[in-house]
Structure formats: structure tokens, C-alpha cells
């Protein structure tokens, strides 16, 4: 490209590009210069403040480098200066579209450290809310992903239906997005009157809506062309790169923490783990659509069998776990969300390490987009389903 067009960008990004092991062709055939493009941090399709430096040959991607950290708030540092209970709301601000899942993971980790167990009713409430949140997260993903690929309309459909979930959250705990729904030892709030009825109504409401999304996209030729065989990642690569969640399952690995190492009350429900075959963008789309349906199944069972009883275990007012360390992880909508908590016996955690699925999954971007086109980078960023609040923490 004309250097008059790209000199400035070159200078800015040359350092950041240092690790791009780009195989430049031995002898350039015709004089084709590479173009270095800065996608983000202000870009409509990077889902926040992600900056991707692309090295292009024409429109073909030779290599990428993600520059992250624009949203870094030092969540782990904050944790060391808050009590266990005080840190709970901060957790919601990481993956803010799946705040309930985040809270579930943290509360269970601390409960494990305290060696207490939440009552069964609390576990059921947790499962219902978490699965609702999974649907909400997938709906948001679907809308934005479709928007990235150029289909505007699904975004509004999914947001319309996500609204119903947020209404349930709002009625349950007063907040829609950063819910802070659970407490260490169980749940703070009993379900409101009519909770079961509303959840059941939601189930019958949303099932046809999921069919509606699928009607718009699943057999749409343009959608197929844009997603099939795009951003492929093999199961071996996915495992080596630590990719989890729907991205891993779309590559054919039938692994879901809800089944593999059940937490909360998941061992009591009957559901399937949808998997894909090719590990391409389309399979990831199908897996997430199927997961939404499986979540509906889980919610239906949970809401029908929800037991009576207390919702809070006996937890001391001042939470002081014994000295020790624990790693606990759950299946968040985006993958394995782990908490590694080190306690020194005081009221504040000595160290909290969050294992964010988005952060690790994002690392696979480079592997997935090499050799594809610029437009595919957008599709792949969308399909990994990252939330920058969680990547940067």
C-alpha cells in the first residue's frame, strides 16, 4: 500500500507486532506490500475496547496480535483489599452479560473454602437463574454476532427476548445486569411470589422465539457462506490453547463442567451436551443455539422440582475461611470460569485469581483467522464470544 497512507500506523504498531511470526513469501511475487491495520480499540465490531493489529496481504490476514487491557480495573487487586462478602459485587462487573454465572462461581468457591454447602433450595434457585443468564448471554452473543456479519434484525429480536429474562432478574434481586444475586452460603432473597409461574411462562414464550432466530439464520445461504469453514479450530488445537465452552464443544469435544464435575445441583438434571463437528463458526452457532434449548430443559426441570426449605446455609457473619487454597470452576456461558482463592485465615482473601474464559479463548483468535479475510476476523471475534470486561478484568 502507499506508504503515504500507512507510515504513521506502522510506527505505532511495529513494536506490538514483534511476535508475529509471519512467514513472508521468500520472493515476493509482483511487488505486494503488506498492510498493517489497527482494528480497534474504537471499532464497531470488536465488542468493546479490543485492539487487534492485523497484518494483511490485500485482504488476507497474515497474522494478528491482540492488544488488550484497555478495561483493566485490577479486580484481583481489589479482591485482596475487600472482605469475601464485599468482593462479591465486583465479580459481576467482569462478565457483565453473565453476572449471575460469575457470582455462582465465586460463591461456590468461597463456600468450598469454608467447607459449607448451600441448601438444596438455594442450589435450585441458583441453577434457574444461572441458566436464565446463560440464555441471556447467548442471546446477546447471537444478536451482536449476527450484526457483525451484517444481519441487523436478529439483534433486536434477541434483545426483545432477553428483556424478559432481565425482568425476572430485576424482580428477583432488583438489578438487571450486575445482579449480585447470590451470597456466600446460599441466596439472600427468597423467590418472589409468582416466580415459578413467570419462569414457566418465559419457557413457553422463548422456545418459539429461538426457532424464530434459527429461521432467520440457520439455513440462510449468506449466513452459511459467511460462517461455514470460517475460523476452524481442531479439537487438539482447542485443547492445547485451553479453549473452553461452546468453542471447544463445537470442535467435537463433549466436555461441559456441568456434567464433568457437577456443581450446584446440576447432577440432578437431565440434559445433553451439544457438540459440533468441524469447529467452525457455523458449528459454534449451532452449539450455542442448542445450548439455549438445553438450558430451557434444565430450567423446566428445576422449576418443577424446586424443593422447599431454607435458602441460606449457616455461615458466620464475618467470613474467615481457614488457611488454605481452593480452585473452583463452573461452566460459564463462555467457558470454564475458575476462581483460585488463597486464604490466610483473615477476613480478606490473600489472593483471588480469576480464570476468565474470554481471556483464554481470545488467545485462539490468531490461530483461527490466519489465512482468512478481514471480514472473517469480525466473524471470528464475534463467534469466540468475548466480553472485554472479563478479558481485561
Amino acid at each position: 500500500m502507499s506508504s503515504h497512507t500507512n507510515d504513521t500506523t506502522n510506527d505505532v504498531s511495529s513494536r506490538a507486532l514483534s511476535n508475529l511470526d509471519l512467514e513472508t513469501p521468500a520472493k515476493p511475487y509482483l511487488d505486494s506490500n503488506e498492510l498493517i491495520i489497527n482494528m480497534g480499540p474504537q471499532h464497531p465490531a470488536t465488542h468493546g475496547v479490543l485492539r487487534v493489529i492485523l497484518k494483511l496481504d490485500g485482504e488476507k490476514v497474515l497474522g494478528t496480535e491482540c492488544v488488550i487491557g484497555y478495561l483493566h480495573r485490577g479486580v484481583e487487586k481489589i479482591a485482596e483489599n475487600r472482605t469475601y462478602a464485599m468482593f462479591n459485587p465486583y465479580i459481576d462487573r467482569m462478565d457483565y452479560v453473565a453476572a449471575v454465572s460469575n457470582g455462582l462461581g465465586y460463591c461456590e468457591a468461597v463456600e468450598k473454602l469454608l467447607n459449607v454447602e448451600a441448601p438444596r433450595r438455594a442450589k435450585y434457585i441458583r441453577v434457574i437463574l444461572t441458566e436464565l443468564n446463560r440464555i441471556a448471554s447467548h442471546q446477546l452473543w447471537l444478536g451482536t454476532h449476527a450484526l457483525d456479519i451484517g444481519a441487523m434484525t436478529p439483534l433486536f429480536y434477541t434483545f426483545r427476548d432477553r428483556e424478559e429474562i432481565l425482568k425476572i432478574f430485576e424482580k428477583y434481586c432488583g438489578a438487571r445486569l450486575t445482579t449480585h444475586a447470590f451470597r456466600i452460603g446460599g441466596c439472600q432473597y427468597e423467590t418472589y411470589a409468582g416466580f415459578e409461574k413467570e419462569v414457566k411462562h418465559f419457557l413457553t414464550y422463548v422456545a418459539p422465539k429461538i426457532d424464530e432466530y434459527e429461521a432467520l439464520l440457520t439455513t440462510n445461504r449468506i449466513w452459511l457462506e459467511r460462517t461455514k469453514n470460517v475460523g476452524m479450530i481442531s479439537a487438539a488445537d482447542a485443547i492445547a490453547l485451553g479453549v473452553t465452552g461452546p468453542v471447544l464443544r463445537a470442535s467435537g469435544v463433549q466436555w461441559d463442567l456441568r456434567k464433568a464435575q457437577p456443581y450446584a445441583a446440576y447432577s440432578e438434571f437431565d440434559f445433553e451436551i451439544p457438540t459440533g463437528e468441524n469447529g467452525d463458526t457455523y458449528d459454534r452457532y449451532l452449539v450455542r443455539m442448542a445450548e439455549m434449548r438445553q438450558s430451557l430443559r434444565i430450567i423446566e426441570q428445576a422449576v418443577n422440582r424446586i424443593p422447599e426449605g431454607p435458602i441460606m446455609a449457616k455461615v458466620p457473619k464475618v467470613i474467615k475461611p481457614p488457611v488454605g487454597e481452593i480452585y473452583h470452576s463452573i461452566e460459564a456461558p463462555k467457558g470454564e470460569l475458575g476462581y483460585f482463592i488463597v486464604s490466610d485465615g483473615s477476613t480478606q482473601p490473600y489472593r483471588v485469581r480469576v480464570r476468565p474464559p474470554s481471556f483464554v479463548n481470545l488467545q485462539a483468535l490468531d490461530r483461527m483467522v490466519r489465512g482468512l479475510l478481514v471480514a472473517d476476523v469480525i466473524a471470528v471475534i464475534g463467534t469466540i464470544d468475548i466480553v472485554l470486561g472479563e478479558v481485561d478484568r
Binding site: G69, G242, W255, Q261, V323, Y327, G338, F340, D344, R393
Partner: protein
Amino acid sequence: MAEDVKTPAPAPPPEGEKPTAEKTAAAAPAAPVKPAAAAKPEGPVPVPWSSPLVEKYRSQYGSGLDAQTYLGQNYFSVDRSLIPDILRLLRDDEQFDYCVDITAVHYPKREKQFDVIWILYSFSRNERVRVKTQIADGASIPSSVLIWPTANWLEREVYDMFGITFDGHPDLKRILLPDGWKGHPLRKDYGILQQDQEWVQINLGIESGQ
């Protein structure tokens, strides 16, 4: 070094880091049930972890390695010198093919200030294991990027947050903080309000980011 790890100490011996932690002796084998608060039936105690895997490794490495179970979670405490080998063995022979996380913990009062922790998972065994080692400030540790590619960003984050360098990492640089930043925020001596004022003033053109 072997002695340190051999003692079945629960992971963090943060002597006097916080006032409340004063009582926690470094070599307290019994779980610190001191505060009356935690009304638990039994205090969880790290117990030795015995399994064929542990036996095998113990016979192979002897005193450099120690295996424990705490709250049902298994971990190895290994000597720094064994690090690349044992990780590679765990992946190649024991199918711990998924590196969940790499992180570190800072104990400023200790001689070897850092715990570096690998959390591993095996899909075929459906089993998790943690590998821990202790290193001193300024010391480096072999990178495991060649064992698990996912270690790339995880090690960069550890470097960014703790200043631990990984030998053989292809591109060890800061990941979350900007490149020119001074200090490693997750060290205990880094205050929660502390900032690299110079960086903020130069790059953001404001007096302070607070």
C-alpha cells in the same frame, strides 16, 4: 529448598502479612481452626495425597516433590529445578492435556517470595491437579509455552502482574498494563491506589488517574 516444601504446610505461609495472619505458623500441619468464627464440623486439613501417580513421581524425584490433598483437591509442591520436566511428564504421560491456568501468589516475607501455580486438567481422567513451586524475587522460571500454547498469555499476565520472568517465552511483555508501566500491581508491596504517575502524566496528559 526441599525442606520448605516437604513440610506439609498449607499453601500460604504469609507470616504476618496481615495482622490476622500472624498466628499462622509456616509449618502448621493442623488446619488453622483458631478463629471461633468458622463453625465447621471439622477443620479441613491438607492430607498427603497417595495415588499411583504420586508414587511413581516420588520414586523418580524423591525429595524434590511433595503431593497433598486439600478439600479434595490435589496438588504437587515441586522444586523449582524440576519444573519443566514434571509439567512435560504430566502432559505427555498422564494426559494432563489442558492447562487451565497459570498464576502466582506473592509472599513478601518469605525468602522465596513467589508461589507459581499451574492448574492442570485431564480430559481423559476428568481430574484436576495443581503444581506449585516457589521462586525468589528476580529469579526466572522456564516457560511452558512449548508444552501448552495457552501458557503464552497466562505467563504474560503473571509477568505483568508479578514481574516473574519466564525463560524461553516467545514474547514476554506486558499484556494488561501498558508497555512502559513501572511496577507489578499484584505484588503485595504495590498499594491499591498506587499508579505509575509518570506514565499517566506523559501518556494521558492528566495529573493523576485517581
